[in-house]
Amino acid sequence: MTYEPSAPSSRVEIELNRYLAEQRMTRRDLLARIAEIGAVAALAPIVAACQASTSPSAAPSVNAATPSAAASTAPTPQPTPQPTPESDLFVYNWDGYIAPDTVAKFQKKYNVKVKYDKFPDADTQMTKIRSDSKGGGYDVTYPASTEISGLAKDGVLLQLDQSLIPNLKNLAPDFTNPDYDPGNKYSVPNYWWTTGFAWDPARVPGDLSSWTALWDASHKGHLGMLDDQREVFAVAGFRLGLSPNTTSEADLDQMLALLKQQKPLVRKYTEDDIGDMTSGQLWISHAWSGDWYQMIADKPKIKYVVPPEGAVRGNDTLVILSGAKHPIAAHLWLNFNLDAEVSAANTNAIGYMGPNAAAQSLIDPAIVNDVRLNPPAAVREKLVELLFLAPADLDKYTSRWNELRA
């Protein structure tokens, strides 16, 4: 994919303005229309106008897909439309969550200026992008997969124009039709991970694998659980053979009883599993696989396991917000991050596996061959995704979580 800054960009601009004037639309109306019917449909008249008014000598590189162009080149695959990106892009992401040079590479390739804001935790992220119900001024953000259905229902997300994201073809089969967003209509997967537990063998000897280690009284005062209600109840669920997405009050009562037995041993429901494990505050802790990878940068001996009883598989996503002022640049950002090289570079930087089949051969062997970061198929079968819960069902978890915490 190349960026062509010369004639087409100004022509698109001229045609865009003419179209808007003819239709008595503002740019905002056009964006609203993009949100409703997708970028290609909304922009088709403009692209067609560009095509029609382009003299063969002026800009032969304009090759946007129009019905006539598609018809005339029937045997070859339909060329990807390449509308010109806007000059800016506002991205809202975790700190240190992509390779350090990803933004610079994108800016260079597409001549788009990226403004990159960071959020400290997912609650802040959600509060901000929901503040005006259309993204709080950002174009792209990275929500957890569990948020997608709720965000889409509330109109916070722009339905993706998949023709602008040809790199979707790179996705591994597990990720092309996820439960949380069938057909990746609103989101593309970004990283995936497991939630297991980590321990410091200097303090906790032995080869642990079962979740029961987190109920072992000898770890009293040095045991950590994540400060995340769904994840904590999921662990109790795996021990009891109950679904971590259960909405049955009886199931949840059993889980709560088991967690209440564990609580006297727990030092902290931690928001910082990395810091608490590396500082020695915790000896054994419920932890995310990618966080473990960051722990071993400090303390290489720390171990991690995905317990055989089952574990949570999580993934986060890239989405475009419905209020995006730069939807085309945003699509390009999504596509860019699904590029095999970019995806591999991101994984190499932070240790979270990407969903990108094409990137596998480019990932550092120390990551891709580590069964803890990239579990084999037999383990993957036992992984469960946490699903979005309706408010009344989420309340069943929240009230019990608060009861446990109080």
Partner: protein, 306 residues
């Protein structure tokens, strides 16, 4: 306030009657209103309005999609908020703020007394030193406590180095660390009002007590302490009320066994996505705090401040 000429004929009436008859001119009354207006506006916009919003939200509920709806206002959230399951967290909040208040008074009073009586020309400098911690963000200072208190932190390493302990003592994530952090944080708020009232104390009264053969401690107990009691009460309120809702300190320095009611409310607003319920619990906490404070003040006024 501008001095105004005495009303005509004031010379003939007694001074007391003149004061009783005196009415401020219109311009003064307008000026008075203008002076109080910013304060009233501030309170209305930043206190009463948010409070009203919380109250309204707390009477609402959520529709199937999780959005706030006020279609059928009701008190269900308040009924839910009184669940006995939350009592341990509420008890923790009360306990931490009570101990923090007592410690702040006990540590703060001698400091305030010393600065006022023995500060001499350095009084201002000493007061600036009391407030010096405010120059750094509270969050950073709390993280500093984490570094000092954790198992391999400054304190434990030091104690191990001098051979006082073999294994680290669990200091962080305990009642101890929460109370330490809160007392550290609220101490300046306790010192300042006590300083003001000690500094205003007429030293002649203490001298008079000594002249009447009161011992130093009797003079303190029967003269200094009662006269400076308003400062102590102000210090207690300025410590206790914010302490009971403190979220940051228990969250960062506390652990699994130190959950406060503020954390419960935070969970309801964030991962629980239940703003109406969180608002109800928050509002209830405020009402309980306010009622408790008023009762305490009334009792004190009758018995101590009278």
């Amino acid at each position: 306030m501008a001095t105004t000429a005495a009303p005509a004929g004031a010379g003939t009436t007694s001074p007391v009657a003149a004061v009783a008859e005196y009415r401020r001119p219109l311009i003064d009354r307008i000026a008075g209103l203008a002076l109080i207006l910013p304060g009233v506006l501030w309170l209305a916009i930043f206190f009463l309005l948010p409070l009203a919003i919380i109250l309204v939200v707390s009477l609402g509920s959520r529709d199937a999609a999780g959005h706030l709806t006020l279609a059928q206002p009701n008190l269900n959230n308040y009924i839910e908020a009184t669940r006995p399951a939350y009592l341990p967290a509420f008890a923790n909040s009360l306990r931490y703020s009570a101990i923090t208040t007592l410690l702040s008074l006990a540590i703060g009073y001698p400091i305030a007394y010393w600065i006022s009586r023995y500060g001499g020309r350095r009084k201002v400098l000493l007061l600036i030193l009391v407030m010096l911690p405010f120059w750094t963000s509270y969050l950073i200072r709390t993280y500093a406590w984490m570094i000092i208190l954790r198992d391999n932190g400054v304190l434990n390493s030091g104690l191990q180095a001098v051979g006082l302990i073999d294994e680290p003592i669990a200091l962080l994530n305990t009642d101890f660390s929460v109370i330490l952090g809160m007392t550290y944080g609220f101490l300046p708020f306790a010192i300042l009002p006590m300083y003001v009232s000690i500094d205003r104390l007429d030293q002649h009264l203490v001298e008079a007590a000594r002249d009447l053969y009161a011992s130093g401690s009797r003079a303190f107990l029967h003269v200094t302490l009662p006269i400076t009691m308003p400062g102590i009460v102000a210090a207690a309120l300025l410590t206790f009320i914010p302490a009971i809702g403190d979220y940051v300190t228990p969250d960062l320095l506390g652990g699994a066994q130190t959950t406060t009611i503020a954390k419960i409310i935070q969970v309801l607003f964030t991962s629980g996505r239940n703003w109406p319920y969180g608002s109800a619990l928050g509002f209830l906490l405020m009402v309980v705090t306010l009622a408790g404070t008023l009762v305490a003040l009334r009792t004190l006024r009758r018995e101590v401040l009278a």
